[in-house]
């Protein structure tokens, strides 16, 4: 079952030359009098900047009022302020050479923006207006609500969506993380007042973090930020605790039936950890070696050796309160069982045998090397800074990450795989045509069958 032994590489491969120093740019951090946390970093690659205003509350925090309401609030946010109607907002953005998007995930809401350095202040003023004076005009809300209805119907035609929706339900049970998107009925019952109350509670400076990376002088940019956002006020929203997710025990199979599917989307997962956990870096490296890189065991096995799939991968998914590990592959219908066998074979192998040192050295180099690619672009750097700030990681996280990765040993990986690659309790989701795949799927555990609307079939 293992992949064929790799051929020895040629001795003519040039060795790596001396490594050049990776220097992370200085971060300017500040907290304004109103509580707004600000992190700035300079990157002079092009005469532009990227920014993101995060609000530390998202769809999980809004679930009592209605699933997906934080996302809906973020969507309608850009359609009007006290000063500017929708059309003017869009034209002003174009006038500033700017892009802007507003969205909400499980843990945060955010307004992301990018624009020309020479026009930074007016763009910040518009962002400030959206954060403080959004008007949620009734007709705009009504249009976006009807749009959302069509979008949630469309989502249910996508195998990837159906798989992740089912896995999150299975892993998180009664916790808000279980619901990745609202139902049609839930969208139909959205009210403009719901959005206003979310907006009032979530969009406050004490709940906010402003990150900016780009071609500017940090000291004068900080002054601009103070000038633009200094008058914003509001308190941190109250947080109501969520119920603990019951961790599913025993390997089970959850089949989502899509009649006529010509391929099967596999997604298997189990509970893991958040980024704050001391084992996070170990788990990242273990995942990379398993299925997180092109040169990983899973990709080499089920793609490069067996040709079952184009796009196998595994990932560690850190949400703020909980994290999970998952592995996915879209495979030919007749190799669903064969693919799952290999997926578990590679997981169990990492749980049973220490990783050979040369293979581990390769994986360490990969994880530490690609980490510094983020340094080369403004939005790459922004996303690294966001990871640190949103997870309250230590200030030297970026500077020390690579040495932490490089210190890991085969026993570390063995222990990590045993702890977090919980193969006995993996929940297996398969999205496909049950008439073609049900007997194969049933080999791997008790089987439940659902339709694309989430209705339990058997």
């Amino acid at each position: 079952m293992a992949t064929r032994a790799a051929t020895e590489i040629s001795s003519s491969v040039p060795p790596l030359s001396a490594e050049r120093q990776v220097t992370w740019p200085k971060r300017t951090k500040a907290r304004l009098a109103n509580g707004l946390e600000v992190v700035l970093a300079e990157s002079h690659t092009v005469p532009k900047f990227h920014g993101e205003l995060f609000l530390r509350s998202g769809n999980a925090a809004s679930i009592q009022r209605g699933p997906g309401l934080a996302e809906m609030t973020a969507t309608v946010l850009r359609t009007g302020t006290a000063k500017r109607p929708s059309r003017q907002i869009e034209e002003d953005l174009r006038r500033l050479g700017a892009d802007l998007s507003s969205h909400a995930g499980a843990d945060n809401s955010a307004v992301a923006f990018a624009g020309l350095s020479e026009l930074a202040e007016p763009l910040l003023q518009l962002v400030n207006e959206l954060a403080r004076e959004a008007a949620f005009p009734e007709p705009e809300f009504e249009r976006e609500r009807r749009q959302k209805l069509e979008e949630v119907k469309l989502d249910r035609t996508q195998p990837g969506f159906l798989a992740s929706e089912r896995l999150r339900k299975v892993l998180f049970g009664s916790h808000p993380y279980a619901q990745v998107a609202p139902t049609e009925q839930q969208v139909a019952s959205y009210k403009r007042d719901d959005l206003l109350s979310i907006y009032r509670d979530f969009y406050t400076p004490q709940n906010a973090l402003l990150l900016m990376v780009g071609d500017f002088d940090s000291a004068s940019m900080l002054e601009t930020v103070e000038k633009v956002f200094g008058g914003w006020s509001g308190n941190k929203p109250a947080i109501s605790p969520s119920p603990e997710p019951g961790k599913p025990r025993g390997r089970r199979v959850h089949l989502v039936h899509v009649p006529g599917a010509v391929q099967t989307q596999i997604l298997a997962g189990c509970h893991a950890i958040t980024r704050k956990h001391p084992d996070w870096i170990k788990l990242g490296l273990t995942n990379s070696l398993y299925g997180g890189a092109f040169n990983s065991r899973l990709v080499m096995n089920i793609r490069e050796d067996k040709g079952y799939t184009y796009s196998p991968r595994s990932s560690v998914n850190p949400l703020r309160e909980y994290g999970y590990f998952s592995v996915s592959a879209a495979v030919r219908n007749d190799v669903v069982a064969a693919s799952l066998t290999e997926i578990f074979y590679e997981l169990d192998k990492l749980r049973a045998l220490p990783v050979p040192e040369p293979e581990l050295a390769d994986a360490r180099n990969y994880v530490s090397g690609v980490f510094s690619l983020g340094l080369a672009t403004q939005d790459g750097l922004l996303s690294q800074l966001a990871t640190v700030a949103l997870n309250d990681l230590p200030d030297d996280y970026l500077e020390t990450y690579r040495e932490k990765v490089r210190a890991l040993t085969p026993p570390d990986l063995l222990a990590t795989a045993r702890k977090y690659f919980d193969s006995a309790n993996m929940q297996i989701v398969v999205v496909g045509d049950r008439t073609q795949i049900e007997p194969q799927a049933a080999l791997f555990g008790d089987l439940e069958v659902y339709d694309a609307q989430g209705k339990h079939l058997s």
Partner: protein
């Protein structure tokens, strides 16, 4: 603009471009071959892309797996992609791995070493790629695979670029070696080195690793030109999974780097530039006929044959295709009759300049300088003028209102367009369009 660039052409015809930038100790290397899916052999649809996969299957001194392993274990990422008129291979690595990357790219330019088992394996992988991106997805391949067979008459422009499975099955190892010999010669390629490298060092390394690869015969290229289109063309494709009826309307675009092309590109932005664009504004925000509208000229700097400006619309089932198309037509008519205002043109230019900077900086999955690499490559292979990267923006910033109105009148004509309707089976087709399927 003044992006520093050093260029040379080696004695075997390989073009080399070095663009130094010390922002980070990272270097991006690309090799572009001037062959894409447009001019792949007839009877072998999808072959250029299948071949791209084969380039990762082994070369003379780096057997299967080793290419990927050597890049990943150097701390870098890699990929390749097949376009209409070029195929690229690229890596981003810490700069201490530069020589290793050049050695690998040179090794596979010199000699591919693959067997039947590699070909069988990648044929299976490619079929799953087509299923995951096209056959098992709502609106898969819409409209980039749906429109060409309706719009074009020359096989080069009209065939299935991802490949009919029968053609993929028919592809042989002999086809692989012959395609390699014909198109993957140094004189049909450009090597790009961007990032943490000194220009003289980059040029010297290019010569060291690629200089002794023998040149090939100049590759033959089929003629991609289209006969003059004189009538509107329509086609139908069944949507197997999606819930909404969809349509795509494509108009033939002017050739690259003509004055009409600059104007058409800004007109494209006026129509398709996000939520401020006229199409989205009218169809989604104001009339609320559509749920999604986007489009444009795909890869506007990187095509070298007939192409279209395409609008893609997913509309509400309660509106007929006719009613939706009528709204679309009214947007076109308005810009033809009234042009655009100076204020709108000014906005478009600021946004275009800003987007251009972003294109240069990033552009693909966190790969630094991918966009700059792509532009330098296309300007080298199609125009033999990589310095265009520093001057081409000026052509857009000098477009006038009357230029935009003129291209709207000349190019956005019904007899120069093709329309594909993609309908879920349970939404009814309007009577004047037959229920025949085009695919």
């Amino acid at each position: 603009m003044n992006i520093p660039i050093e260029t040379t052409t080696l004695s075997n015809g390989l073009k080399v471009v070095v663009a130094p930038d010390i922002t980070a100790p990272v270097v991006t290397v690309g090799v572009y071959y001037k062959i894409g899916f447009r001019l792949e052999p007839q009877g072998r649809s999808g072959f250029a892309h299948l071949f791209e996969h084969m380039m990762f299957q082994g070369s003379a001194h780096a057997p299967k797996m080793q290419h990927i392993k050597l890049i990943n274990s150097s701390g870098g990422t890699l990929n390749g992609s097949t376009h209409y008129d070029v195929t690229n291979y690229f890596e981003s690595v810490p700069s201490n791995a530069l020589e290793r990357v050049l050695w690998l790219e040179a090794d596979r330019m010199r000699a591919l070493k693959v067997d039947d088992e590699n070909l069988r394996n990648q044929r299976d992988v490619v079929k799953e790629e087509v299923r995951v991106n096209v056959l098992n997805q709502p609106y898969g391949g819409f409209p980039w695979l749906d429109l060409p067979p309706v719009a074009f008459r020359n096989w080069a422009n009209a065939h299935n670029f991802y490949g009919d499975f029968a053609d993929l099955d028919a592809a042989s190892l002999a086809d692989v070696q012959s395609f390699f010999k014909t198109y993957y010669a140094p004189n049909n390629a450009v090597l790009l080195i961007l990032g943490d490298v000194k220009p003289d060092e980059g040029l010297a390394l290019a010569k060291k690793y690629f200089g002794d690869i023998p040149a090939g015969a100049p590759p033959p290229f089929a003629d991609p030109r289209e006969p003059e289109q004189t009538e509107e063309r329509r086609g139908e494709v069944e949507e197997k999974f999606g819930t909404l009826p969809a349509m795509a309307i494509g108009y033939t675009a002017p050739p690259r780097r003509t004055s009409e092309w600059y104007a058409m590109t800004l007109l494209d932005q006026a129509l398709h530039g996000g939520r401020a664009g006229r199409m989205y504004r009218q169809l989604v925000l104001e009339k609320q006929v559509a749920v999604e509208v986007d489009g444009g000229i795909d890869d506007v700097f990187g095509y070298n044959g007939p192409t279209q400006m395409v609008t893609k619309i997913l509309h509400k089932p309660e509106y007929s295709s006719d009613a939706t198309l009528a709204e679309f037509d009214s947007v076109i008519r308005d810009v033809q009759q009234n042009g655009i205002s100076q204020d709108e043109l000014d906005q478009l230019k600021v946004k275009f300049r800003s987007d251009y900077y972003s294109t240069l900086e990033g552009g693909r999955g966190g790969m630094p300088r991918y966009g700059l690499m792509h532009l330098l490559a296309c300007f080298s292979l199609f125009d033999n003028e990589p310095q265009l990267v520093n001057s081409i923006l000026d052509g857009f910033l000098t477009v006038r209102r009357e230029d935009i109105q003129a291209v709207a009148k000349k190019y956005l004509r019904n007899d120069k367009r093709a329309i594909v309707f993609r309908r879920p089976p349970n939404t009814s087709a309007p009577p004047q369009v037959g229920a025949k399927e085009a695919a």
